[in-house]
């Protein structure tokens, strides 16, 4: 199972980085989203993978998974949304000001 998750994290990172390197704003935003999936999963995995032990006290289960990465990732997801929104608005603004959607503000490349 660990190999599966590690591969998925790697794959999502690769997708994210490749799209991040594109020249148009929209693919870059998609790339950022892919990258934040990967990063969130990576951070989450730092607490190790545990099946069926949610960190809710009193469930009667023996032991709990690590709650700290979860708390980190929860806010990261929400902030990630805010940042995605900010970047896409920047992209819209850039297109309306510059007349194109290239990340460098001018066609080409």
């Amino acid at each position: 199972m660990e190999a599966l998750i590690a591969s998925l994290i790697g794959l999502l990172t690769a997708c994210g980085v490749y799209l991040l390197l594109r020249g148009r704003t929209f693919p870059v935003v998609l790339g950022l989203t892919f990258l934040s999936y990967a990063v969130n999963l990576f951070l989450f995995a730092m607490g190790r993978l545990t099946v069926g032990r949610p960190p809710v006290i009193g469930t009667g289960l023996p032991g709990y998974t690590d709650p700290v990465p979860q708390a980190l990732v929860l806010t990261a997801i929400v902030i990630g949304f805010a940042m995605t929104a900010f970047v896409i608005m920047l992209a819209l603004k850039a297109r309306s000001e510059l007349g194109n959607d290239h990340v460098d503000g001018e066609e080409g490349g």
Binding site: M1, E2, A3, A6, S7, L8, I9, L12, T13, A14, C15, V17, Y18, L21, R24, F26, P27, V29, L30, T33, F34, A38, N40, L41, F42, F44, A45, M46, R48, L49, T50, P54, P55, V56, I57, G63, Y64, T65, D66, P67, Q70, A71, V73, L74, T75, I77, V78, I79, F81, A82, T84, A85, F86, I88, M89, L92, S96, D101, V103, G109
Partner: protein, 976 residues
């Protein structure tokens, strides 16, 4: 406390003076003088102790964990300097009141002067060397402001920058030297360092420490080859020159030499470096001074020369030489401040500083001329004036060195030559300005200045005479006190008399005086010679060369790294991250795969993983078709939330799910205004490069994840494998595997969640209670992002199109009836669900973040299904108050705990009995969570609705000019 307060008073007073300045020049001057007096009064109690010979040390805890405290020290040397700083400071404040013209802001000058005064007091009163360095740098900064006071003048700006660059670089070297001293002695306290001179001198780090400290001191005290900044700093207003460039700041370097004299002096290195550089500076300064036509330029080079003299004395290193050094510090401060002020009066009255034009001023201002002549005589070292006494002590010490070492005779020779030039330039200052014919083409007709402008000069000149004639009665007690503090031991026998018999020093004085007069009388050929070689040897050229080189290098590097292309920067960034990661990988020999037992793979997980991989790869392959890629990305996000479900993270799964919905809606809304497809990229090489970078990044991150996942979490029982018992075995095994033992903080949160936070959902308790401050910061970021986006959308010129690229309209029916009705029906239910999620969040998966997102989605659905106009009639359109209320609620919850005497954001909880529902726990953190909820709802809606409103602006039934062919083809499906 009194010393600390004394050093801080000018800092506190500076803004006050700047504030009072607009009420009038007198107000500003009185306020500034009052601040200086106040600092003086605060020093008085400690001064009494210092006068009796005791060293007073005050300590305040600063960063005790790092062994740093604020420590102030007052002994004889500190007292002498504090007296000079405050005394001459007061005179300068009075003088500046009359010097500065009505156009210039007096308040600004006073504020800067007070800042400088505080910094300088801090330097001389510091016991801790790190603290001394901080004040030292503050003097550099405040002097930058003072030199650049006339900021509209280019020479002022350049001079200020040069002074800051040179003294700032020296400060950096000094920091290194101080750190080495701390390394050697184990303490930054002067008391310790001064007492461990033998340890320091015997240490292998002595030489680097000495060189670094001397670099700092020499840069500050304008010693060769760093002296060039001082003449350029003459662009400052003259009161500043009188204060900084004669009495105080340039003395900070020699102060440091005096302060560290017991710790560093007495070695061959010290004598060679300090004595050598000092003598060289003495000569260069004295010779150059004679040829300067600028009144202040002459004084600046004379100051350099005198600073070299003091440095030489400390370099000679005998106790008597140190006494003479301290004595000359006093004398030079007095006569040079007076001379600068006199030069300022001349400048003020004539409008020029060029000695080729200023002549024969005796007729116009005989009184000022007399004052200037007395001070100049002291500068030349004429008997009965204070400069003579210390200069003769200097001559005696130099003559004493003649037999001490090889080439020792060079020193008295150099000193005598410098003495000749000193007499010559002093003579020039007097003769060229006050006699020597008539003034040539002066902008103003000079006359005597106002009485109070002369008063500070009168005080200083009176001191010159008093010290010069009655040294034993006036200066001796102060000198003994200060020199005793420098030596940290018994004072050598010294005799402050005018007549010492026919000693070598007397003959040197006579030669200097006679030679100086002769030199000045025959100056014409020398001036001609100097003009021919003017500017050949100029340290400023080296400085400019270095500076230009540095700028060119920085520009070149920036230009080569940053071509303005984001793609290039990201590629460089990813590449560097890969290189750094790979080098870290190289450095370790531990295996990639750890020993932790792995979880078995089940069929469902495998299928989900394959689906995700396939979707992601498809999204990548089809990324140029943006809509398709977006939908596929949403699908990947859903599998991510499934992963969270699988691995015991229900909160994360809920968050991811709801965020996924709003993200996709957001990107869909945005895509409307952007091209629907990405044009193909012509360069295959770039695609391959990016593919390689992305592949390597993916491999690296995947391998890193794998390496962590196959290792045991430190300090945590392996719960998945040890469902009951055997925990201790696992723990000890885990402990044995640790290369770096540390305990996970997870167990703390798990144990304290219920007793400390009153909630059973540990993730939520961490968010709203244990780490509530972080969350407060995070919702603030969210709110700011929302507002920023709102601001960006204020003037929309987006211009989306009503149809896709083939010409099909986006929607046949703007608001499908069934969907509209259903969402209206579902709204109460959705809101109920979100309220439920919010309320249970403390104990079960849920909470403010998730509930906020669910509410936002429920409301967004109304906008999507019914349109913005319809929804706005029923919902408040202004979301700013919602965000504000959320932030206020969260903050107030935190502040409430302050009211009960607990730290910010301390939570409380208790059991409440609710009729019919039963017992349940109510925590103050729930109010905080409600704040989180409101911010999330407000920010999310604000972003989405305002983007949606752009649509309505470009969206109409006739927005899509559908081609005739399509219209016919799709006629049956919709009505145009």
């Amino acid at each position: 406390m009194s010393l600390c307060l004394a050093a801080l008073t000018p800092f506190l007073g500076a803004p006050l003076v700047a504030y009072l300045a607009p009420r009038g020049r007198a107000h500003a001057a009185w306020a500034a003088g009052g601040v200086a007096l106040l600092a003086f009064l605060q020093m008085l109690p400690a001064s009494m102790a210092a006068i009796s010979g005791a060293t007073r040390i005050e300590r305040l805890d600063w960063i005790p964990q790092a062994g740093l405290n604020l420590a102030f020290r007052l002994d004889g040397l500190g007292l002498l300097f504090a007296g000079l700083i405050l005394g001459i400071g007061l005179l300068v404040i009075l003088y500046a009141r009359y010097y500065l013209s009505e156009r210039d802001s007096l308040g600004r000058l006073y504020a800067y002067l007070l800042l400088f005064m505080g910094a300088m007091l801090g330097v001389v009163l510091s016991e801790n060397l790190i603290q001394l360095l901080i004040f030292w740098e503050l003097t550099s900064l405040s002097s930058f402001l003072l030199i650049g006071y006339w900021k509209e003048r280019e020479e002022a700006r350049n001079g200020a920058r040069m002074a800051l660059a040179v003294t700032g670089a020296g400060g950096l070297a000094l920091l290194g030297g101080i750190l080495l001293l701390g390394e050697i002695t184990g303490s930054y306290d002067l008391s310790v360092i001064l007492a461990s001179g033998d340890l320091i001198r015997g240490h292998e780090l002595y030489r680097p420490a000495l060189v670094l400290i001397l670099l700092g001191a020499f840069a500050k005290s304008a010693q060769f080859p760093f002296h060039f900044w001082l003449p350029h700093a003459m662009a400052a207003p003259t009161p500043v020159s009188a204060y900084l460039h004669s009495a105080t700041m340039v003395k900070a370097g020699v102060f440091l030499l005096a302060r560290l004299f017991p710790a560093l002096s007495g070695t061959h290195d010290w004598s060679m470096l300090v004595g050598g550089i000092g003598t060289l500076t003495l000569l260069i300064g004295a010779i150059t001074a004679l040829f300067k036509h600028d009144l202040k330029g002459l004084l600046a080079y004379s100051t350099i020369s005198h600073l070299g003299l003091i440095t030489t004395l400390f370099g000679i290193g005998t106790p008597l030489a140190a006494v003479a050094g301290v004595f000359h510090i006093i004398n030079h401060a007095i006569f040079k401040a007076g001379l600068f002020m006199a030069a300022g009066i001349i400048d003020h009255e004539t409008g020029s500083r060029d000695m080729r034009r200023i002549n024969g001023l005796w007729k116009f201002m005989p009184y000022t001329a007399t004052l200037a002549m007395v001070a100049a005589a002291a500068m030349a070292g004429v008997p009965l004036f204070n400069g003579f006494l210390s200069k003769e002590m200097f001559f005696a010490e130099a003559a004493g060195m003649a037999t001490q070492m090889r080439y020792g005779w060079l020193l008295p020779l150099a000193v005598t030559v410098a003495g000749i030039f000193a007499v010559a330039y002093s003579l020039r200052f007097v003769h060229d300005v006050f006699f020597n014919g008539e003034p040539i083409d002066l902008p103003r007709t000079p006359h005597e200045p106002p009485q109070w402008m002369k008063a500070p000069v009168e005080v200083l000149v009176a001191l010159c005479l008093l010290v010069g004639i009655l040294p034993a009665l006036t200066v001796e007690p102060i000198l003994a006190l200060a020199a005793g503090a420098v030596l940290q031991g018994p004072l050598p026998r010294h005799d402050l008399a005018i007549w010492h018999g026919f000693s070598p020093a007397l003959w040197m004085s006579v030669i200097a005086l006679a030679g100086g007069v002769l030199l000045y009388a025959r100056r014409k050929p020398l001036f001609a010679l100097h003009e021919r070689f003017e500017g050949v040897l100029d340290a400023r050229r080296v400085y400019n060369l270095l500076l230009d080189g540095l700028f060119a290098f920085a520009h070149g590097l920036t230009r080569r790294l940053d071509t303005g292309s984001l793609q290039r920067m990201i590629a460089l960034f990813v590449g560097s991250a890969l290189i750094l990661g790979a080098s870290g990988w190289q450095a370790t020999d531990s295996p990639l795969t750890g020993p932790r037992a792995l979880l078995p793979v089940d069929g469902v997980s495998l299928a989900a993983a394959l689906a995700m991989a396939l979707t992601a790869i498809t999204a990548l392959a089809l990324h140029r078709r943006r809509f398709v890629a977006l939908v596929l990305m949403g699908a990947v996000g859903l599998v991510v939330s499934l992963i969270f479900v699988k691995f015991s993270a229900p909160d994360l799964a809920l968050t991811q799910l709801s965020v996924e919905v709003v993200t996709v809606i957001l990107l869909l809304l945005a895509l409307y205004f952007l091209p629907q497809t990405t044009p193909a990229e012509p360069q295959a090489a770039r695609r391959i490069r990016d593919g390689v970078l992305a592949g390597l990044a993916g491999l690296g991150v995947g391998a890193l994840a794998w390496a962590v996942l196959t290792r045991q979490s430190p300090g945590r029982p392996e719960i998945a494998l040890a469902p009951s018992g055997g925990v201790s075995d696992v723990l000890s095994e885990a402990g044995a595997q640790l290369s770096r033992p540390y305990d996970s903080i997870a167990d703390y949160f798990l144990e304290n969640s219920v007793p400390g936070g009153g909630g059973r959902n540990v993730v939520n308790v961490i968010l709203v209670d244990f780490r509530g401050f972080d969350t407060l910061g995070e919702i603030t970021v969210l709110a700011l992002a929302g507002f920023a986006i709102y601001a960006m959308l204020e003037k929309p010129r987006l211009g989306g199109r009503g149809c896709d690229e083939v010409g099909r309209s986006w929607d046949g029916d703007m608001h499908p009836a069934i969907m509209a009705s259903l969402t209206r029906l579902l709204l109460p239910l959705a809101l109920l669900v979100s309220a439920f999620i919010l309320l249970r969040g403390h104990n079960l998966p849920g909470g403010g973040f998730i509930a906020g997102l669910v509410t936002a989605v429920a409301l967004i659905m109304q906008y999507l299904a019914n349109g913005v106009a319809w929804t706005h009639e029923r919902l408040p359109a202004n979301l700013h108050p919602v965000i504000g209320a959320g932030l206020a609620l969260a903050t107030l919850t935190g502040l409430a705990s302050l009211a009960f005497g607990h730290p910010f954001l301390t939570s409380t909880f208790g059991h409440v009995h609710w009729p019919l529902v039963g017992d349940f726990e109510l925590a103050s953190a729930m109010a905080f969570d409600l704040g989180v909820y409101l911010v999330v709802v407000g920010a999310t809606l604000l972003i989405l609705i305002h983007l949606g409103m752009m649509h309505d602006a470009s969206h109409g039934p006739d927005a899509c000019p559908v081609p005739e062919t399509l219209r016919v083809k799709e006629d049956g499906r919709w009505k145009p």
